[in-house]
């Protein structure tokens, strides 16, 4: 019988790592991620979890250690935030190019400068092209459940990719909520032991991460791309199986809410989805035809699903906690591209907010909805920046 407990996102992830039977953890502390690995260290010291905990000198070393452990065919975990993730950048590519199903939690935090410890998605969005599956979660329960699904999908023989679980710093990482913690036996039935096709074996030595000339380099990179497309399907399958076993579903890649007849659809990633859901409920109660599309998987990007869902709307508002400086929010660009070529496409408006820990309020989301209703011609490469006193009139 699953136990309902009062956990924050970090603790929920630590519980998931324990349940997944992770054998090696290597991490370097950084706010707001640290409590994940502190909790894991506590599990290990109490004998509740049989794992090797490698203390390292940096995030680069943390992921390098995870990579080394992963090639032996063991299940590994690490976690980081912001500057720590940036410091891992080189190793992110090594791990994905080597097709090692490492799972990492990213407690999202803004990038310095200005220095901040508060949440936005700039850290993980900046790592969009590193070949990692990126999943954004809405609450602590989803963090736990997504961690279990991340191992399932990442370790699938058709995928073999590392997975990043992104949770908004503090809003999710440090906020307690009721979380259902499944039983170990239930998780074991969902998540079989890891079987890598090529793992370290002294009887059959291989070179790990061999060099390749231009032709074969391209072949391996093409393979990575195919694996990402396979992950799109596997995310859906894993979510469906998870739902059947545990009774909770998040759509795998995207989660539409009240989108069927919506004239305006809000598009979000991460914790702000919860606030947007409340706004949608409030507006629906006033007979407003508004919907919400949560993007769970930013990579692989479920373009076809997004296109199908948004094609019926008159206007789409993308609200995101990142900026691709010099153009617009990264998610906004992706969504626009997914809608390209539609007959009578919806108007697309981009909104950047919640930067460096700024709250995104219900009032702001309601205002975004009203703005979209006005039918103003959207600009391109000129997103609306929320919370900027100087820019408010201009927009």
């Amino acid at each position: 019988m699953a136990l309902r407990r009062f956990l924050n996102g970090n603790e929920a992830l630590a519980e998931a790592v324990k349940l997944a039977g992770v054998e090696v953890v290597a991490a370097y502390p950084i706010t707001p991620q640290s409590p994940v690995v502190e909790k894991i260290a506590e599990f290990i010291s109490k004998g509740e979890m049989e794992s090797e905990y490698i203390r390292v000198e940096s995030e680069h070393a943390a992921l390098a250690a995870c990579y080394g452990a992963a090639v032996t065919g063991t299940r590994v975990f690490t976690a980081t935030s912001s500057q720590g993730l940036a410091y891992m950048f080189e190793m992110l590519h090594y791990v994905s190019g080597s097709r090692m199903p490492v799972v990492m939690a990213v407690a999202n935090r803004g990038m310095a400068a200005p220095w901040t410890i508060w949440a936005d998605h700039q850290d993980s969005v900046s790592c969009r092209d590193t070949g990692w599956v990126q999943l954004y979660v809405e609450n602590a329960q989803e963090a736990l459940d997504t961690c279990l699904q991340a191992y399932k999908v990442g370790e699938d023989p058709q995928v073999l990719l590392p997975v990043m679980i992104c949770l908004d710093g503090y809003t999710l990482s440090h906020t307690e909520e009721p979380v259902e913690v499944p039983e170990k036996e239930e998780v074991d039935a969902f998540l079989p032991p890891l079987r890598l096709p090529v793992a370290l074996d002294v009887e059959n030595p291989v070179v790990f991460c061999a060099g390749a000339g231009p032709e074969l380099y391209t072949e391996f990179k093409y393979q990575q791309q195919q694996a990402m497309y396979a992950a799109l399907l596997k995310l859906k399958e894993a979510d469906a199986e998870f739902a059947a076993r545990f009774g909770r579903s998040y759509g795998g890649t995207v989660e539409p809410y009240q989108c069927e007849d919506a004239a305006v659809i809000l598009v979000t990633m991460g914790a702000v989805t919860g606030t947007a859901r409340e706004v949608v409920d409030g507006l629906r109660a006033c007979d407003q035809k508004v919907g919400l599309l949560k993007i769970k998987s930013f990579r692989p990007f479920p373009a076809q699903e997004i296109r199908d869902i948004l094609s019926r709307a008159g206007a789409v508002a993308i609200l995101e906690r990142d900026c691709s400086y010099g153009y617009e929010g990264a998610l906004c660009t992706e969504v626009k591209a997914a809608l390209l070529g539609l007959d009578g496409p919806p108007k697309v408006y981009g909104f950047i907010g919640g930067l460096g820990g700024h709250d995104i309020t219900r009032e702001q989301i309601t205002a975004i909805y009203r703005y979209c209703l006005e039918g103003v011609q959207p600009g391109y490469g000129t997103d609306h920046f929320l919370d900027v006193a100087g820019a408010r009139d201009e927009n």
Binding site: M100, P197, V198, V206, A212, E219
Partner: protein, 87 residues
């Protein structure tokens, strides 16, 4: 689309020589072991960063991968290995 990808492992993890590529041509000097001086202490085998010393009745050097760094010659306590310049 037919592609070599289907024959490749997931990730570039292969037995040597990977894709038939060798690195011996990078060498300017080649280690030559004097069997009359060698007592099989295997320090060269231990120190070789490329794993190019092959054990056996007589030690051999895998010249497909030896880059001629000279560590083996430097470490040999009996000076049984000489680095010979290659033409």
């Amino acid at each position: 689309m037919p592609s070599a990808t289907t024959k490749l492992p997931a990730g570039p993890h292969l037995p040597t020589p990977c894709f038939g590529a060798t690195t011996g041509s990078w060498r300017t000097h080649r280690p030559v072991i004097d069997a009359s001086l060698c007592n099989h202490c295997l320090l060269c085998w231990l120190y070789c960063p490329e794993g190019c010393i092959e054990r056996g009745e007589k030690l051999k050097v895998n010249l497909d991968f030896c880059k001629g760094c000279g560590i083996c010659a430097h470490e040999c306590p009996r000076r049984a290995i000489n680095m010979l310049e290659e033409a």
